[in-house]
Structures are given as structure tokens and as C-alpha cells.
């Protein structure tokens, strides 16, 4: 529950995708939840180096996230810590991992954002409530489907 994984097949070779993920030029083209602009992209691409990205959303709100590169294997794998600048949005530090796999049409990119709620996730690993929460989510989804006419 407190992690999410997305998989995309991209018609470009892993090296190109990797550079798009890790260069300020690349990042400025895609980072953010809507078509609002990336205002700042700083990258120190080495293990222990940091990144900082600030974006403005179409509603005018600005958000900044930063983190530390934990693993860099070009063009296969990238792992970094993640936190929002304003810690109101998410008080913890989470983990962002990207794996790039060469496929005939280009690259299969797997993005996993985990430890989204680090306190809860840590507890979750100890107590295994993740499954229970999943079940509850299914229940509510089902309810909302049933509610539809």
C-alpha cells in the first residue's frame, strides 16, 4: 500500500531513457503531475550526490523534491532517496527505484516508489498489515463501483 510500481515500454534505447531520467535537460521535459513547467533541475549524478527538482503545477502551486543517489548503474538501474521540500506534503523520506530493461522495441522501465510513508511502512514490514490495507482498499473500490447507477 505504501509503495507503488509503474511499468512503461518506451520506444527508445535504455541509454537514452537513462539520460532522460538523469540529466537536467531531460528532467525538465517530463517531471511533474501535469503540463506545468519544471522550474529547477539540479543533478549531481554520483552515488552520494543529490538531485533537486522544483515544478509548478497548472494551478500555480509549486512543489520541490530532492534526494540522494544511492545506486547508479547506467543504463540499467537507478535508486535514490526522495523527500518533499515542504515536509507538510510527506514528512518522511521515501525510496525511488528505476530499472531499465532492453527489449526489442526499446526499453521497459519499471519505477517503484516505496517507503512512501516510512513510519507506517516500517511498521508494516514488522506487522504485515499491508495486505489488510489492500483488502480494505478493494472493499472500498467495490463499494464505489456498487454506488454507481
Amino acid at each position: 500500500m505504501t509503495s507503488l510500481t509503474l511499468v512503461r515500454r518506451i520506444k527508445a534505447r535504455p541509454a537514452i531513457v537513462f539520460d532522460a531520467l538523469t540529466t537536467p535537460e531531460g528532467i525538465s521535459h517530463w517531471w511533474g503531475p501535469d503540463a506545468g513547467p519544471v522550474l529547477l533541475a539540479e543533478v549531481d549524478l554520483r552515488v552520494g550526490g543529490r538531485f533537486r527538482v522544483r515544478f509548478r503545477m497548472l494551478d500555480g502551486s509549486e512543489h520541490e523534491s530532492s534526494g540522494e543517489y544511492l545506486e547508479i548503474v547506467r543504463p540499467e538501474r537507478l535508486a535514490m532517496s526522495w523527500q518533499w521540500q515542504s515536509r507538510v506534503e510527506d514528512p518522511g523520506e521515501s525510496l525511488l527505484e528505476m530499472t531499465l530493461r532492453a527489449i526489442p522495441e526499446g526499453t521497459e522501465l519499471t519505477l517503484t516508489h516505496s517507503r512512501l510513508h516510512d513510519e507506517a511502512t516500517r511498521a508494516g514490514h514488522e506487522h504485515g498489515w499491508t495486505g489488510a490495507l489492500d483488502k480494505l482498499e478493494r472493499h472500498f473500490l467495490q463499494q464505489s463501483h456498487e454506488a454507481k447507477p
Partner: protein
Amino acid sequence: MVNYHPAHGPRGLDRTFGALVDPTRRAILARLEREDGASVSALARPFAIKLPAVMKHLEVLDAAGLITRSKQGRTVTVRLNAAPMREAIEWLRRYERLWSESLDRLATYAEAQEPKARAGEAAERKRRSSNHGTEKSTT
């Protein structure tokens, strides 16, 4: 305004997730999912713990807003309140939107770079083979 934190803020989420950590509390919630309201004593029955311990768990669930309690005579009826859970789920969905939208644009950008890289490589091959030809002619 779109925001990355839910209306009650991360403190509310902390309480929600904190309340869900305990297996007894999860079992209570799971039961309240199935039954629309149960008395405290009925809730306590399946557990090998004393009523005061169950009351404590109910306090935590109540503080997290996950249940409501209503008293009628001597019976306290407990009901599930799904709103905080929905809020926790919505919070996670915001991350999903962030990455889903970002990766769509990333794909568009990278896919536009691929033909450029190919054109560059073709030009490089051409340059090398013509260089190669020059070398050959000089030997």
C-alpha cells in the same frame, strides 16, 4: 487546489496508519466491514484479551477516526468510518498520478531522442567509412 497532502495532513495519516499496525485493531475493522455495527462485548468475544484491552484498541481506532461509537442504554455500538482510509488511499493516488503523468511525458521525450541518436550514428558511420577509404587510398 491540488495538493499532495490530504485535508487532515500527514498527522491524520499517521494516526490512520498507526491504528492499522495492530492485528487486533485490523481484525476489529475487518469485522466492522462485514457487519454494520457491533456491540463492544460482541467485538471482544473472539479475542483472548480482556474487555479493557479491547476498549483501549477502540480508543485508538476512534482517535484515528476509523470508527464511531454510539451509546444506547447500556450497549455501545461500534461502526466503521471509512473516510480516513479513503483519505490514505487518495494520498497514495496522488503519487500514482505524479509518476503516471511524468512517465508519459518521459516516454514522449525519449522517443523523440531515439531518431536523433540514430541520425547521429548514421552520420558517424558515414564519416568513418569515408575516412577509412581515404586511409586505404594513401597506403
